[in-house]
Symmetry: C2
Subunit: 331 residues, 2 copies
């Protein structure tokens, strides 16, 4: 199999020139470029990912940082990220932060030491965001605000919150509760917007709206069950719920156990669209995040940054879709 050295020899140029042609970076005379291209074709040369990484002093590894990969949304996201990175010849390193500062710091240090080529950051940061901005190495955020200089991919949560609110309003709710992921001001994530929009629209339509905070990255079945039981018991007047998949499932389980008629007595809208939440009865009306596209856009941005290509767009916003089930009133 031909190597980059073979191509250089065949084209009578240096290895550096071949690499500039391959990467598309740095100046190469058009005549030389064509000569190298011809040699690449003549020798049927395929750049070997490992050789390429060695040449560019790269590890070939991208770290993906999430709060908890066991959580359905993040597991589906990480799976799609791995698939997309694999197609680019990159390996995927994962890191659960569980909100621990030292875990985040460890990966930022790896990035500084060039042990990973880039970081896709999908966790709530517990560090000062300036740490990310000042690192000067490839970082892409998914659904997190890490300052103006860090590209971010997220869905349009304002539309997501509006869609959820419209389902609740149309279904005739009088008193609703929603579950936020994190306390206001505690972390900055574009996903906060959906709750703000939801709250505003409830107020506008004279619907009472209580907001609760859930430890949404928990994988403890009892936690969800107890929390849902407790709130439904404490607020028997609640006739509408807006929550992420796992919390919505727990509320539905509790409501069914208490023989609430759904959707007559309780309406529900879930958020995320993960596989498990799609398999409950009654089918929950859900705002679906395009998980595969979120991953693909993040991988596109991180590989562009690693390849030092100029970014066209620092903020990528994708559309959510409504999957209407049987927990809201049919139109």
């Amino acid at each position: 199999m031909a190597t980059i050295q073979d191509v250089a020899k065949h084209a009578q140029v240096g290895v550096g020139t071949v690499s500039r042609v391959l990467s598309g970076k740095g100046y190469v005379k058009e005549e030389t470029r064509q000569k190298v291209q011809a040699s690449i074709e003549a020798l049927d040369y395929t750049p070997n990912a490992m050789a390429r990484n060695l040449f560019f002093h790269r590890s070939g590894i991208v770290a993906v940082i999430v709060p908890e990969v066991g959580h359905p949304f993040f597991s589906e996201l990480v799976s799609e990220v791995e698939k997309a990175l694999c197609e680019q010849g990159c390996q995927t390193m994962i890191c659960n932060t569980f909100y621990k500062k030292n875990y985040e710091q460890r990966y930022l240090d790896m990035l500084k030491q060039q042990r990973v080529d880039g970081i896709i950051f999908g966790a709530h940061t517990a560090l000062d965001v300036s740490q990310y901005e000042n690192i000067g190495r490839p970082i892409v955020a998914i659904d997190r605000t890490l300052g103006e200089r860090i590209p971010c991919v997220s869905v349009d949560h304002a539309i997501g919150g509006q869609m959820a609110a419209e389902e609740i309003i149309y279904s005739g709710c009088k008193s609703v509760m929603q579950f936020r992921g994190a306390k206001k001001g505690e972390v900055t994530t574009p996903s906060d917007v959906r709750h703000d929009v939801f709250e505003e629209l409830m107020e506008e339509h004279g619907i009472a709206c209580r907001s609760f905070y859930s430890n949404w990255h928990s994988l403890d079945i009892n936690y969800y069950q107890n929390y849902a039981d407790e709130l439904l018991e404490k607020y028997p007047d609640v006739d509408g719920v807006f929550a992420t998949d796992l919390m919505a499932m727990a509320v539905l389980q509790s409501a069914m156990a208490h023989k609430k008629r759904i959707p007559e007595e309780l309406k529900m809208v879930a958020y995320d669209g993960t596989v498990g939440a799609g398999l409950v009865f009654p089918k929950i009306t859900t705002i679906v995040q395009p998980i595969e596209q979120l991953a693909r856009e993040a991988v596109r941005l991180i590989t562009d940054l690693i390849d030092e290509k100029p970014l066209v767009n620092h903020k990528v916003t994708l559309q959510v879709t409504l999957r209407r089930g049987d927990t809201t009133v049919r139109r």
Copy 2:
């Protein structure tokens, strides 16, 4: 902060001696060992993971190979593996195989090239198992048979199958169906045993038992829904189901939509015990795999292999537990 060199200088020995004391490998005179230990304490030396890896020519990375990390069982498993590896100062690389041979091969090559220190293998292999046995580098299997020389951690699926069967028998089923993960003989996994045991016990008790194969690593909601609808329609006499979490959820959803009374008309036992499946109504009777312990045992074995410690036990078998819900008859 003190380095290994500082310790060597303080103890008036070579760096190699300090490293032998730290690793516990190779011969060190007891007197020397005590001197080094005293220097370590005097200088408050903490072995730096990265320095240690450089010294031992290690990457500090363990690859975890699973069929699909988006699948609830594997996502919870990978999360626990990452947590346990992180505690050992190791990074976790993940790889979805999606049953593709070339993906597996890529990671075996990385292991040969020492770009990863070890592999925790939790996927069905599409390669000849001799490839794993002959590699002579650290590999640990979770729930997979990769030949006698590869250590394997799994649960006692025979007991798991028996527990499921006993619930079904006690509940008075006449005609049941179970979902196997893979066709018999197609792949070798200890988890096949649970289905064999289940089938035998059904036969022994004169209960008709149909076995189906599900594409269990799918994350397609429609796939599960359509398959469940199709089978319940085709076999209206079925009054018992044994399936992994996602398939069990789909069957329950379909049965509820067809207004089957549960458990009167349909009994169900699920297998795995993942978080989402714990949040459906009615609560499904489930055989729970101890996912955290599976991960911890696998990490213990792989770090022992990497540290070249002798393994006491090549086969680690953990116990499953029964979580009784409302889909079988209460005793």
